[in-house]
């Protein structure tokens, strides 16, 4: 039965993962209201940016590709602008138009009317962002997927919702994309991407965001890691060589997008990380862990 507690923690299935929200240090009614508002923000991002839901902004943009411009919610527009910026700064490595490749690999579903063999298009030429939150995909064979950035954005919106309430401590974790605020740092454990049942290190997180990505695996089938869901737009193939990446950044949207870039570019991204005021940890296929020098003090390895 319910007992009075200074801390509550809830989880709901959203964004294709379990989203966990925790708050502490306030009256129960205030904490319940804060958590509900934060989940509502995540659910809103889910409705707007899901590739799978037919009436999401993303699905409408994809349906209108090459046909007509689409007016979107300001949150969707904000994410698209950030994606374009990341695309430019990463020299095309971060690319939200890889959806046709993910579909070809069976990682995203096809919908009726999709061209059978979409040629790859590069973001800068492919997407027009126009005044009035209008988006236009120039060609009918272009499809976007915000899976590499929207989850982080959702975490940021949830944290912002929590901050509107009188709760001193908050944390949102959407399947590995997380952010926290409060007077004390929180300890977060990073899974071993080669064996998700194990933890590889712990990291201190204080008023900042942390995003982790790994080669995709399906624990329902087996604990073995399988093909990566990170696609290198340069080759159109799953990114090799790096098994997992964790990025710390001021916002979770930036951290989320940077993990995808680190998975492809490895240690070549130092400049971009610096520009974003971010740090990174990567786990190479040979088992070595590499950490940016500004961050190693906050990372504690399990061995």
């Amino acid at each position: 039965m319910a007992t009075a507690s200074d801390r509550i923690r809830r989880a709901r299935p959203l964004l294709g993962t379990f989203v966990e929200i925790e708050v502490a240090g306030a009256a129960n009614a205030e904490m319940d209201a804060a958590v509900n508002a934060a989940f509502e923000a995540v659910a809103c991002v889910h409705r707007l940016m899901s590739f799978h839901e037919a009436d999401s902004d993303v699905s409408r943009i994809n349906r209108d590709a090459g046909l007509q411009p689409t007016r979107v919610h300001n949150w969707t527009f904000e994410v698209l602008k950030a994606a374009a910026e990341m695309h430019r700064r990463s020299n095309g490595v971060f690319d939200i138009t890889v959806a046709p490749i993910l579909q070809a690999l069976g990682l995203l579903p096809r919908s009726a009317g999709d061209p059978p063999n979409s040629s790859r298009a590069r973001l800068l030429d492919a997407i027009e962002l126009l005044p009035g939150q209008i988006v236009r995909l120039r060609r009918p064979d272009i499809k976007i997927d915000l899976g590499g950035i929207a989850k982080g954005f959702a975490v940021d919106r949830a944290l912002e919702a929590l901050r509107h309430f009188n709760v001193p401590v908050g944390m949102v974790n959407a399947g590995g994309d997380l952010a926290a605020f409060g007077p004390e740092p929180q300890t977060v454990y990073i899974r071993d991407p080669r064996d998700p049942r194990r933890l590889i290190c712990s990291v201190e997180v204080a008023d900042e965001a942390l995003a982790s990505t790994a080669r995709c695996f399906d624990l329902f089938q087996s604990a073995e890691t399988t093909v990566s869901a990170i696609i290198d737009p340069g080759t159109g193939r799953p990114a090799p060589a790096i098994d997992g990446a964790t990025v710390r950044a001021p916002s979770c949207m930036v951290a989320d997008a940077l993990t995808k870039i680190v998975m492809i570019s490895g240690t070549d991204v130092t400049e971009l990380l610096g520009h974003c005021n971010a740090s990174a940890l990567l786990i190479s296929a040979d088992g070595d862990i590499q950490i940016t020098p500004d961050w190693h003090h906050a990372v504690h390895l399990a061995a």
């Binding site: 039965m1 319910a2 923690r9 809830r10 989880a11 709901r12 299935p13 959203l14 294709g16 993962t17 379990f18 944390m171 974790n173 399947g175 590995g176 997380l178 004390e184 740092p185 929180q186 300890t187 977060v188 454990y189 990073i190 899974r191 071993d192 991407p193 080669r194 064996d195 998700p196 049942r197 194990r198 933890l199 712990s202 990291v203 942390l210 995003a211 982790s212 790994a214 995709c216 624990l219 329902f220 604990a223 997992g244 964790t246 240690t267 130092t270 400049e271 088992g287 070595d288 862990i289 590499q290 950490i291 940016t292 020098p293 500004d294 190693h296 504690h300 390895l301 399990a302 061995a303």
Partner: protein
Amino acid sequence: MTKWIRYTLPVTAIMSTASPAYSMQYLSIEEAQKLAFPSARFVEVQPGRVWKAEAGGRVAGFFIFDRVIGKHLFIDYTVVLTPGGAVQRVDILQYRESYGGEIRSPSWLAQFVGKTSGSALKVNGDIRNIAGATLSSTHVAEGVKRVLATYGNRLR
């Protein structure tokens, strides 16, 4: 350009052992009921599984408890339906997962103690925050669809 710092993990650090359960209890059934319908009275329609919520002499909605298999352990969750039979919210009550045995082992956990500033780590298996790839929530999504197919029309 600043150099990244490289660590090579010893083999022992990546060996995995037996897999005991890890579980996170978020809510009891009663707590979830109160969150879904704060001032309602609950009438059990199907024991331990389906409740009708009544407030002010009217049906406020339905509350259904269900569980699905995660990897090989159960995830308990509840689905709240509106009086019209639409999904209003889904809450995870309890989440269980199997991990390598070392997570419960005091000696393994002790490695972290004293190295973490601020937040204390209890050496009794209280791993609170885990990042990195997680189980997908596909089975819960499928479960919600099944609940809706089973009860969505029948309960109205």
